[in-house]
Structures are given as C-alpha cells and as structure tokens.
C-alpha cells in the first residue's frame, strides 16, 4: 500500500488501531530422515508473504480467501500467537515488543468452534472469569467486583439474565449460546479489538445472523474494531465496512466493501464472487484447479497460472502477459481506498483519462441500488 494511498484513505476512517507492515510468516515443511541425511532443501511454506493491512477504530474489516491463502495465519500473527519472520505489527502506532501480556488484553480472539474453545468441565462463570484471573484483574475500573464484570459481559453478549448461566456447563447450552459465552469471555477484558476467525461457520444457519448482529452491536456500543476472517463473501457483504481479499499469502485487493464486492477489479476477487451460490447460476464460469500450494509460489503475479485474463489471451492482447508471468506485482490504488494488485486493473484505471469520480457509495451506502 503506497503511503499516499494510505493517508488519503485514512482521512475517511477512524484512527488506525492495528497496522501490519510487510509481515511475513513461513513454516518449514516436513522432511523425511533420508532428506535430512542428504541435506535436501527443506520446503518452506510461505503462508504470509509481505502483507500490509490497517485496522481502524470502530471498523469491521473482513479478510477473505480460500483455505490455505494465509488468512488464519495472518490473524494469528496479529494476535501474537505466531512470531513473524519479518515485518512489524503496530498497535496504536507502537510496535509490538516481546511483552505481549497487555496487548493480549486489548486484542481478543473468537475462534470458529465454540465447543472446542470452552473447557467442558468449567462452568460458564469460570470460563468468562478466567481471562480476568489470568490478567490479575480483581476489580473493574469503577470498582466493580469480578462477579459484576462477568455479569455485565454475559448480558452484553446477550445471555440474560446472566445469573441463570453462571453454573451451567457448555454442554447444557446450544451452539449459538456457546459462541455468546466465548464472546462474553472476550468482552469481559474490555478489549479494543476482536479478531474473529470464521465466527459463525460452525453454527446453524438460523443462529448465524444473531451472532453477527451481536458483533455489530458490541462494535457500536463499545466502539470496538473487528477483524473477521471468513471464506464467505456473503457474510462480508452483511457485516464488513472494508474487505481485504487474500491469495497465496498476499492481499490482492482491498477497499470499501461495496467497491470490492460490487465492482471487483482483481480477477481472483471476481472468481471468488462467481462461486457464491445464486439461484439458477450453476452454469457460470468457475476457476479450475485446487487451492494453490504455498510451498511453490509461482513467479510474476502469483495468480497468473489460474488467471482467466492470462488464459484467454486477453493479457497478451493488452501487452501485459510478460509482466503477469514474470514481474511480481504489488497493490496500487484504483479509486480512493480501493487497491488491487493486477496489471490489467491498472490499465483499466489508466484508460480513464478524467479523474475518477469519488464513489457516492462511500457517503451513503443505501443510495446504491442492488
């Protein structure tokens, strides 16, 4: 993300709360004993390969992509659960050091499977109070007792009256209620950021909306920032202010949700949108092949082996095929706040001679027709 693009974009948003700069995370692949003796090259999976990303105050940012694109690794690195190989994470402008204790109170994580996140032998009260105890918090900022803090978190998470849940065990609750307990466990520490990794994919269809509504409600009431990791662009459409699309360890397109989802510019984003099921739409083109392998990142634009623009010869016609195949491509701004890493998208942008009109959708999304 170029600095000017970033600056211009930030004027329309809250202050940045988390900034990721040039982040890289890689994992050594498995090696057999024989390979060890022969000193064969160890295959390295580069899960996150130079990512810049900013989460602003009060914003819901959706990080989307197929499995293996690095979205969960990025979220975990932001949480400080994985040490990056390179790059920086800034929290309120200050780089994270080795002491993550205080940071971890401010940034809470909600995982996909609430049943796995909760200890089956702990009561709901214990589960929610655990964070307070780990952080040595015996009373709230206004002198609240531990019980008052737990009760408040449970009712913020929609479990009312909270006292009714204190002595229950996770197995006595439904899936949706369990996820609410997990969210209460995050809220009890009064965090500034929630990182939610596929928070509703394990829940029943009719319950999902309620959990998403809850996340939006706590965002509004407590002015939290939320990073939602999801494979579901429909979900991003319902909750996200901004969307970042990841492919093979890189962000390939990012911008306001309306821009990215209604006017996608990167062929990969278009492909992802194409596979969102739609009535009567089964015959549309679908990207072939399996999710790519992060141990073998192709040269040039990393999407080019699957890119329809390259495959159809469109890239050759535009005279960019060589760059697509050989020259690594980074994000550039297309419209205010809307970035994409694609040579074709840039040509499209540059062919419009007059300055781009600011999309009216930024001011009031509701004026835009479906």
């Amino acid at each position: 993300m170029s600095d000017t693009a970033l600056e211009r974009h930030e004027q329309t948003m809250g202050e940045p709360i988390i900034e990721v700069r040039g982040l890289e995370v890689s994992f050594a692949g498995r090696t057999s004993l024989l390979q060890g003796f022969r000193r064969d090259k160890v295959s390295v999976a580069t899960a996150v390969d130079g990512v810049d990303l900013t989460l602003h105050e009060g914003e819901v940012l959706a990080l989307a992509g197929e499995s293996g694109c690095g979205k969960t690794t990025l979220a975990r690195a932001i949480m400080g659960l994985i040490r990056p190989n390179a790059g920086q994470i800034l929290f309120r402008g200050k780089p994270l050091g080795r002491k993550l204790h205080a940071y971890r109170r401010e940034v809470q994580m909600v995982f996909q499977d609430p049943t796995a996140s909760l200890n089956p032998r702990q009561t709901i009260y214990e589960s929610v109070a655990e964070g307070l105890r780990i952080h040595g918090i015996h009373q709230g900022p206004n002198g609240e007792t531990e019980e008052e803090l737990v009760a408040r978190a449970l009712s913020q998470a929609g479990l009312r009256p909270p006292q009714r849940f204190y002595l229950l065990f996770p197995h006595e609750l439904s899936g949706g209620q369990r996820q609410r307990v997990v969210i209460a466990g995050a809220l009890v520490l009064d965090p500034k950021v929630i990182v939610a990794d596929e928070p509703v994919s394990n829940l029943d269809a009719s319950v999902r909306g309620e959990i998403l509504q809850l996340l939006l409600k706590v965002r509004d009431e407590l002015r939290l920032s939320i990073l939602i990791v999801t494979h579901d662009l429909g979900l991003a459409w319902t909750v996200a202010d901004r969307v970042a699309v990841m492919y093979l360890g890189r962000i390939v397109e990012a911008g306001p949700a309306e821009d990215v989802l209604l006017h996608p510019r990167h062929p990969y984003t278009k492909a992802l949108l194409n596979v969102v099921p739609e009535a009567g739409g089964i015959d549309r083109p679908i990207l072939l092949g399996e999710p790519p392998d992060p141990t073998r990142i192709p040269p040039g634009c990393r999407f080019h082996p699957r890119c329809p623009v390259v495959a159809t010869g469109e890239a050759a016609k535009l005279g960019i095929e060589e760059r697509c195949r050989g020259e690594d491509v980074g994000l550039e701004e297309l419209a205010p706040g809307h970035l994409a890493a694609c040579y074709e998208a840039w040509i499209e942008r540059d062919s419009i001679t007059s300055p781009l009109p600011a999309p009216s959708t930024r001011e009031d999304p509701r004026t835009l027709g479906p």
Binding site: E66, S206, W237, L262, V275, P277, A279
Partner: protein
C-alpha cells in the same frame, strides 16, 4: 411415474431417554431427471430421511409410512432384495468424503467393488468401467491406482461421486456433499454433480443447510423444521419469495451480494433450534416466529396452498383457514 415416492413418513429413534420423533409425516415425490432440495438446520430430520430411503437405520428405529423406489416398497423389502436395491436403485454421497474412503485400498478398487459385488461385471470389465467413471467425474483414469491420501479433498469427493454412479442408480442422494470443501472446490463439485445429473437424467435428493446452494442446483425445494416439511415449491421462488417465516430466516442467512436489505443488517432468528424430544405445540416454529399470532401455539398446521404450485405450513399464507376460523 416418480422414481421416488415418499408417503406419510414417520421416523422415530428409540433412545434410553424416550422416543425421539425425528421425521413427522413427510410426503414428497421425485421424478426422473428432477432434483429435490431438502433444507433445514441440524436436527430437523433431513439426513434421517436419507437414511430411511436406503434403510440405513438400526432395527430399533421405528419407520412408518411408505417409501416406494421405482415401484418397489423399500420398507417391505427383505434383506436380500434390499441389498440389491442399495446402490443399484439408489446410492448416496455422504458429507465426509474425506473419511468415507478406506485409506489402505486403492480408490479404483473401492469403486470397482460396488460393481463386482452387485455382479454387474467381472473384475476386468469392472476396472474398465471404473476408469470410465473416473473420467466422467473429471479425474484422469491413471488415478485408478491412487490411494485416498494421494488425492485432495475435492478429488476424493469426485471419487465418491464416481462410486455413487457405478451401478447406474436411478436415484442419487447427496447429503451435504460439499459442506467440508473449500469455496472454489465446492463450486466445481456442484457444477459436476449438476451436469452429471442432467446428462444421465438422474433423480436426485439434495440435502444441505445452505439454501443458496439448493436454489442453484434444485428444481424444487422443501424446507424442513422440527421433522416436518414447512414449505415446498419451485426452487427460485422459494428462495426469492419465501412464504414461511422460517424460510425467510434461512434465506437471510445466505444473502445475495448486492442485496441492500442485508447490507450491515445480518438477519437472524431469535431462540434455538427445537429439541426433537420437546417439540413446541401447535405450529412448532411459533416460539421463534417474528410474525406469530395468538392462534399459532394451538394451531393444527398443515401444508396449505401458498399460491400456484406451492405450499407452506403457516397461518399467514393465502390457503390457510381464515383467522376467525383458526381462533374458534
């Protein structure tokens, strides 16, 4: 004639904690070349129906009603003929493709086994047929000697599809066939299933909780809640203009991108899915229903006409008895 005809089906699991009525009075037909989509959340009884059609439930489970597959009364079949019907009459593609294959046998052998067990061909012929099947589902024939661990998730699901087609069944049941797969692979597998279904003129029962997937592959959709069908009609109309409030909520869980009604407003239902052992009285959906009226908790709901060629079990549809009638 319908390939599959289900009449007044009741399936009751008998557990130590008492009887669990999982399917209550379900009736539907599937014609040759047609896809019926069955949607609902976990515990609504949709997979139980799949199990009942192939009689996969334990002997303790009580199954009442009528299931007729190509004119044969499935529930009355003796073990021998039943085994013959399984896979040649109707086959099933399960959700867990990743676990359904035997890890220590080559996938080709596992497909060929279905053919040889049913004595449809000798071993050599079966191998030729297996190679054809693999190509049909978009896998190179040389994959015949691969072990499951050498295949990706999508490829394994393709093997499961090949297996389901091995004995030329007239009905294929797909029970959440793409749920565990990645988005892009899910779309590929759906496209494959749909094109095979069209090409072979199969009747298909497609089960999933994702209404948008169903709207895409089905001709008709039936929505289940608490063991009953609560709405039924042509796929795109059920998805786009739901008549039952529960369908509205399900459709809202998988909104179309660009639909401004859902932008910034995820729609959800209050409450939790019903416990099959304690199904609410009257309309079973009334405790969660946003448009419930006084009559609903005692109403004897039925699938009433909700316009042309569709039915719904809700007091608010046009074919329902009038309010005064219902309240008296």
């Amino acid at each position: 004639m319908s390939v599959l005809s289900v009449r007044d089906l009741h399936v009751t699991y008998r557990t130590k904690g008492g009887d669990v009525p999982a399917v209550r009075d379900v009736t539907f037909d599937i014609d040759r070349g047609h896809v019926l989509g069955l949607a609902g959340e976990s515990g609504c009884g949709k997979s139980t129906i799949a199990g009942a059609i192939l009689r996969l439930h334990s002997a303790r489970t009580r199954i009442e009603g009528e299931i007729s597959l190509e004119g044969q009364d499935v529930l009355a079949l003796r073990p021998g003929p039943l085994r013959a019907v399984r896979w040649t009459g109707a086959s099933i593609i399960f959700q867990g493709a990743l676990h359904a294959l035997n890890p220590v046998r080559e996938v080709g052998d596992q497909i060929a086994e279905a053919i040889t067990v049913h004595k449809l061909a000798g071993e050599r012929e079966a191998r030729v047929r297996t190679a054809e099947l693999l190509e049909q589902v978009g896998l190179p024939a040389r994959r015949i000697d691969d072990y499951p661990h050498e295949l990706s998730g999508g490829q394994k699901q393709r093997v499961m599809i090949a297996m389901a087609l091995a004995c030329n069944p007239s009905l294929v049941i797909a029970d959440e066939p793409t749920t565990a797969l990645d988005v892009m692979v899910q779309a590929q597998v759906l496209q494959l299933l749909k094109s095979l279904q069209r090409e072979l003129g199969l009747a298909m029962l497609f089960i999933t909780h994702d209404l948008s997937v169903l709207a895409e592959v089905s001709d008709r959709i039936a929505i289940m809640y608490a063991g009953k069908i609560v709405e039924e009609g042509a796929a795109d109309r059920v998805f786009h203009e739901p008549a039952h409030p529960y369908t509205t909520a399900l459709a809202g869980a998988f909104p179309e991108i660009g639909d401004m009604r859902f932008r910034g407003k995820p729609s959800g239902l209050g409450g939790d899915p019903p416990d099959p052992q304690h199904i609410p009285s009257g309309c079973p959906f009334h405790p969660r229903c946003p448009v419930a009226i006084d009559a609903c908790p005692t109403l004897d709901v039925d699938l009433w006409s909700a316009g042309e060629d569709r039915r719904a079990a809700c007091i608010h549809v046009s074919g329902a008895p009038s309010f005064s009638e219902a309240s008296t």
